[in-house]
Each structure stands twice: as C-alpha cells, then as structure tokens.
Amino acid sequence: MARKVLTVDDSKTMRDMVRFTLSGAGFDVVEAEDGVQALSVLGSTKVDLIITDINMPNMDGVTLVKEVRGGSSHRGVPILVLTTEGGDAKKADGKAAGATGWIVKPFTPDKLVQVVNKVCP
Amino acid sequence: MNDHVESPEQEEISGEPSSVQNGNFHQFISFKVGNEEFAIDIMAVREIKGWTETAPLPNQPDYNLGVLNLRGTIVPTFDLGCRFGMGSTKTTPYHVVIIATVQERTIGLLVDAVSDILTVSDDQIRPVPDMERMTAAEFLSGIITVEESMVVLLSLEKLFNRGDVTSATQIAA
C-alpha cells in the first residue's frame, strides 16, 4: 500500500510541489492549509508521514508537532518541518517540539524524496 | 440529416469520382430556395435543423429573421429567399435552417429544403457570367452543372461580411 503523506503548508505552491514530487515517488498525498486543518485531517485519516511548514495562520507548525506528539493517533509518525535556509532556530524549535527532522526550503524534488525516505521507510 | 452531412464521402465519392484523378475536389451542400438551386461549401456547415420560431431583432432588414436558440447559443438567422429578392418566405415546419459558420460567427440560413451533397472538382466549377439583372451576383462564386441543371455556388463570406451586416444595421437605425 502506498505510503500516505500529509503536507501542511499555507502556501499552495509549496503544497503543490510537495504533492507533485511525492505522488511521483509513489506516495499518497493529503493536504492541509494550517495546523488546525491538519489535526482534523489526522482525525479521520491515517498517514505515515507529516510534512509541515512552521509559519502558518491559525496553528503554526511547532504547535502542530506538539499536538501530534501529545495525541494518540499519530504520535509515532515521523514529522518533517519545512524551514528556510539559516532557520536554525526554527529547526531547533521543531526538534524540541518532537519533529523527526526537517527539510530546508527551497528543495529539489530528489532532496525531498531523499529526506522523506530517510525517515519514512 | 445530420449524419448525412457528417459522412458524405461514403455516399458520394464511392460512385463516380474515381474516374477523375488528381483533381482538387470540393464538397458542397446544395439546397433549394424558391425554384433555384444553390450550394455552399460543406466546410462552413455545422448542422441542419428544422425551422423553429425565431425572436425578431428590432430594426433589421426584412431578410433578418431574428435569432434562434441553438442549444443555448443565440444564432441570428437569415431568410435567403428574401435576401435574393424573392420576397419573405412563409415558413412552415418543413423549412430548413442550415447552421453555418462565417467569419467565426454562427448564423442560420432559412432555405426551402436541402437537396444533396455535391462532390465536384475545380474544373467543374464555372465562373459566374456577367449578369446585370442579378444584383446579388456579387455573392455568387461559381456555377456548377449537376444532371443538366444549374447550381449556383454562394460565397457566404461575401453574403455576410460584417461590413454588410453593420451597414444594414446602421441604415435601419
């Protein structure tokens, strides 16, 4: 069964790119625009990986990570946070909240696939 | 009748034209208006339908019958007989409207009946002789003879060039 990825980003461009790349790599991709939407998706869908932006309206990525780790349905699912170059503080925040790893924006398709495969077998 | 238009080759070409080689063939739809037989380029014809009532447009020349509804598209329709000076056609459900495309516009042409699909080669098309009696001669692009009778080829472009329609509108207004 195809692995299912939830991509959370308020930017449609980013969601599109993630979706495009990962569906090309054989993933099922579901989308959410912010943390709140993401949690509602997770409430009804079982995913194998979460890729989330940090800066989002309603609920930011760090809070989302905390929520997921504190919840029951997806607490063991790998979570990658999207950061920008030099966003070390963000990486650390994400990590401290319980993220599995990060992807630096902008990314190439294979960098994304590589990182995803690194955390999601 | 629609099918007939869309697949003319099987019916026409199989008969005679193999004898003529390398000629440039054209296909025309011929139709009757009054007692005369006209034809237009088949490529311009989109479909043929029975006459339905139109909504008249105000202040248009007599030959403008108004607009009809072609599956949601508003199509201005013209009485060809009237256009050729034969007087307004008294329409019946047996009259036929040829839907044609002229200069990217879709128009309807009211004719008495559609007769045939003609496949003719270039050399079968004769030029129109100078005829002063017909002011409509400028709309004619050629004459072909089919089974001893004369069919006049119409140029829809000339008949419905936008300048003409516009000027007609202006005069009426």
């Binding site: 930017s11 449609k12 461009t13 980013m14 599109d16 790119m17 495009f20 569906s23 090309g24 790599a25 800066n55 989002m56 309206p57 780790r69 607490r75 063991g76 699912v77 790998p78 979570i79 920008t84 170059e85 030099g86 070390d88 990590k95 319980g98 599995t100 790893g101 990060w102 924006k105 902008p106 990314f107 190439t108 398709p109 294979d110 960098k111 590589q114 495969n117 690194k118 955390v119 077998p121 | 339905t52 909504a55 447009l57 105000p58 202040n59 248009q60 607009v67 009809l68 509804n69 949601g72 598209t73 508003i74 199509v75 128009i107 936008r162 329609v165 516009t166 509108t169 202006q170 207004a173």
Partner: protein, 765 residues
C-alpha cells in the same frame, strides 16, 4: 540548494500557482501594511505580514528568483525582529515596511513577466532595512548571517570530502537518547542509510536495556557500535545522523586511513558484530561484506545521500512524476480559490439532482401505471434542486471585492506622491461579494476613478489648508449589497466638480450649445461625455487617453450604472450600481405584440395603467405620462421596434416605469406583464452586431429566445429625427416644476453618444 530539477512544464504549472498565490499574498500584505500606517500592528497582523513575505520568499527560492529571494530575505529578517518585539513601531519603520511591500510586489511582477530589474532596484529600501537591522542588533547580525552563509557553503561543497577521497574506516558510536523514538526517528533507517555509504558492520548493545517492568515502551534503550568502511567523509556520515544529533550521543572517529586498515582493530570489531552479520564474520574480512537481503531492500528504498548525485536522480524522478500527474495546463489559466463548504454543497446538490433525475426517468417508464403523483413530486424536486444548484454555482464564482480594493492603497500612494498630495484611503465593505467576472472588470474603472479623484478632486495640502480643510485629503471606497446589485462608491473630500468650468469647457468643445440651460445634475453628467477632461493640463496621472466616458461604458457593459454627485468645495461621490453577476439577471417578462421581452427587474420602479387624462402629447410628437405629479417620458417600445399587433393605446396597456442610470425615470409602454423570472444572459454579439435597444438575449422555458431590453438605449433611440428635434426645441411648460422633466427632455444626452455609436443623435439643439 536553489537548483531545481522539475521539468519545464511542471515548473511552469507551479509558477502559475506561485504567481496566483503571490497576487493573493501581496493583496493581503498591501491591506495589512496600509492599516499599519493608521495604527501599530498587533502580533497577529505582524505574523500575517511575516507569513506573506515568508511564503513569497520560499516559493521564489524554488524557482530561483534570486533577486526576489534576497530582498524578501532582508524584509523577512526585519519583520522577524519586529515579531520578537525588538523594533519599535514608528512612522519610519511603517514607511520602510510599506515601501518594501511595494518593492516586493515589483520584484514579483518582474519575475512573472520574466524581466530583470536593475541590480540596484529597491536598494534604497533594502539599505534602510539593513540600517534598521544594524540598529537593532548591531553589526553582529550582519556578521552572523555571513557566517551562516559560509558555513553552509562548506557544508555543501564538502571540502573535506575532496581532501579525503580514498577509503577510510570509521568507528561510529551511536547511543540514542530515550526520546529518540518518540520523535519518530528510527535507528534501523539510519543504519540502513549508513549501509549505502560503504561496507558496514553493526553491533548492537543491550547494555542499557532495563528489566521488562521498568521498560518505557516508547523509550530507546539500544545503542550501536558501527564500523563503516567508506570513501565518504566524516561529514557525510554525520549528515546521516543530521536529524538525531540532539537526540543521541554520536561519536565518529576514523580508525583506519587506508584500505588495508589496521588488522587488529578491524578484527576486534568483527568479533563484536551482531548476529545478522555472522556470515561475514565467518569469512573474517571486511571487504567481503556484501549486504544481504536487508540491505538490498535498503538500496531500493533509500536513495543516495550524496548531493552530487542529485541531477542524475532527478532525471529518473521527473518522467516518473510526469506520468503520475495530469499534463500541465497552459500558464494563462486563471483560477479562483473557493471555500470548501461551497464546493461540498455543490456536490451534494448535484448528487440530489442525479437522484431526482433518475427518479424522473424511472417514473417516465412507469407512467403507464398511473403514478402521476410521484411524477409531479419528482418534477417539483427537480426544479427546486436545479434552482439551488444554480445558486451554488453562482456562489462559487462570488468573491469579495477586497481583491480589487486591496490594490488601491498602493495606487493612492504612488499617485499622491507623484502629485505631491496627501491622501488617505479608507475602505469599507470589502468583504462584499460579487461575481468574479465583475471583479475583474471593476479594477480598471476603479483605478481610473481613484486616479481622477487624486488628480482632479483632492487639492494640494496648501490649497486645502487655505480652504480650511485638513492638509491630508481622504478618499473612501465603499461597497455594499442592494438587492441584486452591488453598490460601490468612490467618495473624496476634495474640491468637488467646478460646474462653471465644466460647462464652459463643454461649450467650448461644442458638446453643449451656449444658450443651453442645464440643471446641476446635467452639468455633472457632462463629465461622462466622450473626450472630456477637466484637468488644466494633461498629466501623466490621469491623462492616459481614457475619460469618464470610458468608465461609464465599461460599467454599462457590466449592466451597471454610474452616477455622480458633487458639492463644490466639499467633494465628489461616484456611485456604481452593478449586478452581482453577469451570468444571470432578475428579469420581468413582458409582452409587446406577439413578442416577449425581458426587462431588468432592478430598474423597474412600478407599473400602472394610465387614465387618459394622465397622458399628454407634446408638440412635436413626444409623449409624457403623469404619475403623482411627476411627468415621465413615455416610450413606445412597439414603435421603436416596429412590433406589429401591439397595444398602442396606453390606457389599454401598461406603463412600466423604470429608473435610468442617472436616477431619472422613463415609462415603457407594454401590452402586459407576464411574470418575474431569473434569466440566463446570452450574448447576441457573439454572432451578430450590437442591436440598439437590446442588451442581450435569454432563452425561455419553451426554448424560444427573448431579447433583454436596454432602457438606457431605448431612452435615447429617436422615434424619428423630426420628433427628436421638435420635442426638444420647444421646452415643456412644466419644466421648472418637475425635475424629472428636465431629465427626460434633456437637450444633451451624453449616454446617447456613448451608448449608441453609429447612431445619429443630435448633440445639441
């Protein structure tokens, strides 16, 4: 990692999304920034601004728009400091932020049109941002950011790697902290990844494993000692552990510099390898270690970690991705974002429609069985559902006017600074929704009107102060719903319309005759006359060859009206009334002779059957009908349209009183009203030339076409040239008493000239 290896088509598709998104983000940014000038931003506003800039930057990075990225980066840095409360919000900061927003928009525009902006474009604002940043955290910030930069360079270029090409053996001690597993990091994956770097021997230590009772199921207890023989650098190895750096203790040390290795050390390790590798252990050499089934799996699922392999991989990935998605659409496609709720509703209704339809089909079959009742029920359901479906679809197309309004602050800033005027823009009702096609058509007229308002309406600060006004002028942009229309007003508190100057100009241009007597409203109407411009000199601001006549024509094209009210010295108000949708119209079906026509319901005031004494023929052929003391011009549509068999005696028919664009009234004589109905507007002009008096057509329930009447045009259609001349040359006796008369008997008819090109309407009498 700016290089992208999406193929061109896909990239173009993403770019389109990106620019669509940029447009939205910039509009939002614009709006938030303009409110920044009014009051300090709260954290929510700052966050939103930051997110907008951040998203633009991130997307731009993906497409390699480096100028845009660089600028956005500085902008973002400033905003980030602001979020952290390190920057005091003052006028200067607000100004920099606003200008930076404009620059950012320019960069996006340039990127979209594939133009290169000058190297130093925006550098002024950029420098100011840098200056602010420097003030905030001293020179340090500049230095650290440079350091970061160079760090990354060394990372990606892998200097050490080059120095150390030959194979080397590393001893890796990997001791996960308890929480590693809870972050969903998986030691097995890391080990597999290491395997791809070279020959790996693993040894698992159970040392830290507690007793079963003490074991926390989600904690990590195992640790590993790994031996890797690889030609990769230590950096590469550490990169494998990149994500778990903080979640583990990691020691990497080179134990053998050359292929041969230190025999004793190697062996020592071999003795400690785990069960899995026992086979290899038996052979006793590191070299022969060929990954078994497990590592084969790893090979297929774990791609190379070496970034230098990226291009090769991409070639493989791209075509694969291509087949998985539909081909890219052409980049010109416009898209709208729609609330999910609306789409859901639409889908549900369509579902119902399908059911009702099948019901109907079923019933048609069973008809012989005498189930008429059910048939009727299905029909009723069907019509209800179809109606709802239509509403849903319309709703999808509805968008707040905000998307147009939000472009205006920037315009106001640009224009006012060019003209050295001070103008504040206020907006109200920007959430008011209207069909997307209408929104698109609104941008030009509004732009023009606002430009006009600043250019001609708002005075210079000196003039204003001299007139006892505040130096800063204000323009208010207002939207609201009224019936099936949206009403948009552009109100300025400038100098108003100088009626004297306007009239003089109209006379000098020959638009009005010198002795014409015009009411104030009529004079104001003159600004909609073609080729009219009251500016003393043509400025590069509003003198772009379009006048208010074009604005009016555009608004009319939308089926709307525009009117103006002005008080000299106080200001001007333009009011636009536009139907909410171009696709449907609330209409009144009327009969004239055998023909049926649609009148826009919104323009109908009332209808009545006049008594004979209410009618009055004017000398020269004009006719009026009086209604409660008001004289209303009577228009005989059957006459104008030459419809045979129509009711010609108004006392036998009905007079439908309709309101015209400028608030006047005309009465249209019809045979009867048939009923009110919503109609779908069809264009006649798609296949024919414009027909005077007719704005479009629709298809009635019986499949026949009905024309939609255009009151504005009907009003100005002469019955005959003679009538027109004589009726207007002899002033009506009640002219003074009745303001409506002035309207109807106007000697100038600007709309006549704009609406009906090609028609000979006397301009002056």
């Amino acid at each position: 990692m700016t290089g992208s290896s999406f193929n061109a088509d896909d990239l173009a598709q993403f770019k389109q999304t990106f620019f669509d998104e940029c447009a939205e983000l910039l509009a939002d940014l614009e709006e938030r920034l303009s409110s920044l000038q009014e009051e300090a931003a709260d954290s929510e506003a700052l966050n939103a601004i930051f997110r907008a800039v951040h998203s633009i930057k991130a997307g731009a990075g993906a497409f390699g728009f480096s100028q845009l990225v660089q600028f956005a980066h500085r902008y973002e840095a400033l905003l980030d400091r602001m979020r952290d409360g390190l920057v005091e919000q003052n006028e200067r900061v607000a100004d920099v932020l606003v200008r930076a927003g404009d620059i950012l928009a320019s960069f996006v525009e340039a990127a979209q049109s594939e133009q290169e902006l000058g190297e130093d474009f925006g550098s002024e604002v950029g420098d100011e941002i840098d200056l602010l940043l420097a003030e905030i955290d001293g020179l340090e910030s500049v230095l650290t950011s440079e350091e970061e930069q160079s760090d990354e360079n060394s990372d990606s270029e892998g200097v050490q790697e080059d120095q150390n090409k030959s194979s080397c053996t590393y001893l890796i001690e990997f001791v996960p902290k308890a929480e590693l597993l809870r972050h969903a990091n998986e030691p097995l994956l890391l080990i597999r990844e290491l395997q791809t770097l070279g020959d790996l021997q693993t040894e698992c230590s159970l040392e830290r494993l507690p007793t079963l009772g003490a074991m926390e199921p989600e904690d990590a207890y195992l640790s590993w000692m790994l031996t890797l023989k690889t030609d990769k650098s230590e950096e590469d190895i550490r990169e494998v552990f990149e994500f778990v750096e903080d979640d583990c203790e990691l020691k990497v040390s080179a134990i053998a510099a050359k292929d041969s290795g230190d025999g004793s050390l190697s062996f020592q390790i071999i003795e400690e390898v785990t069960e899995e590798s026992e086979e290899d252990q038996a052979t006793g050499t590191l070299k022969s270690e060929k990954p078994g089934a497990q590592s084969k799996a790893a090979e297929t699922s774990v791609p190379e970690t070496n970034p230098s392999d990226a291009p090769k991989k991409a070639n493989v990935a791209a075509p694969k991705a291509k087949t998985a998605s539909t081909p890219a659409q052409s980049s010109g496609v416009s898209s709208i974002r729609v609330d999910l709720d609306r789409v859901d509703r639409l889908v549900n209704v369509v579902g119902e429609l399908v059911i009702a339809q099948s019901m109907q089909a079923q019933e048609a079959e069973d008809r012989q069985n005498g189930h008429e009742f059910l048939m009727n029920q299905a029909n009723e359901d069907m019509s209800r559902i179809v109606r709802e479906l239509q509403e849903c679809v319309m709703a999808i197309r509805m968008q707040p006017v905000k998307s147009v309004f939000s472009r205006m602050p920037r315009l106001v800033r640009e224009v006012s600074s060019k003209l050295n005027k001070q103008v504040r823009l206020l907006t109200e009702g920007e959430q008011t929704e209207v069909d997307k096609t209408v929104i698109e058509e609104l941008a030009d007229p509004l732009t023009h009107m606002i430009r006009n308002a600043i250019d001609h309406g708002i005075e210079s600060p000196e003039e204003r102060e001299a007139a006892g006004k505040k130096g800063t002028g204000a323009i208010k942009l207002l939207a609201r719903h009224a019936g099936g229309n949206i009403i948009i007003q552009v109100i300025d508190n400038g100098s108003g319309i100088n009626k004297e100057a306007l009239l003089k100009k109209a006379i000098s241009k020959g638009i009005v005759s010198e002795d014409a007597k015009l009411t104030d409203e009529e004079i104001e109407e003159l600004i909609f006359a073609p080729g009219f411009s009251t500016a003393q000199a043509v400025t590069d601001v509003s003198g772009r060859g379009v006048g208010m006549d074009v604005v009016r024509r555009n608004i009319n094209k939308l089926g709307g009206r525009i009117s103006v009210q002005s008080v000299e010295g106080k200001g001007t108000c333009f009011t636009l009334t536009i139907p909410l949708s171009l696709a449907v119209l609330d209409g009144m079906l009327v009969a004239i002779g055998a023909e049926k026509y649609i009148l826009p319901l919104a323009s109908i005031v009332e209808s009545f059957r006049p008594l004979e004494e209410q009618l009055r023929a004017l000398a020269g052929g004009g006719e009026v009908v009086s209604m409660r003391g008001e004289y209303i011009r009577l228009i005989r549509a059957h006459h104008l349209f030459n419809v045979p068999g129509a009711v010609t005696d108004p006392c036998q028919g009905l007079v439908v009183v309709t309101e015209t664009a400028n608030g006047g009234k005309v009465g249209l004589l019809v045979d009867e009203l048939i009923g009110q109905q919503q109609v779908v507007i069809k264009s006649i002009q798609e296949n024919f030339d414009p027909v005077p008096g007719v704005s479009g057509a629709t298809i009635l329930g019986n499949g026949r076409v009905a024309l939609i009447l255009d009151i504005e045009q009907l009003k100005s259609m002469p019955v005959s040239a003679d009538n027109w001349k004589s009726s207007s040359s002899e002033p009506l006796e009640q002219q003074e008493a009745s303001p409506a008369n002035g309207e109807e008997q106007r000697t100038i008819a600007p709309e006549a000239m704009t609406d009906t090109e090609g028609m000979q309407v006397p301009a002056t009498v």
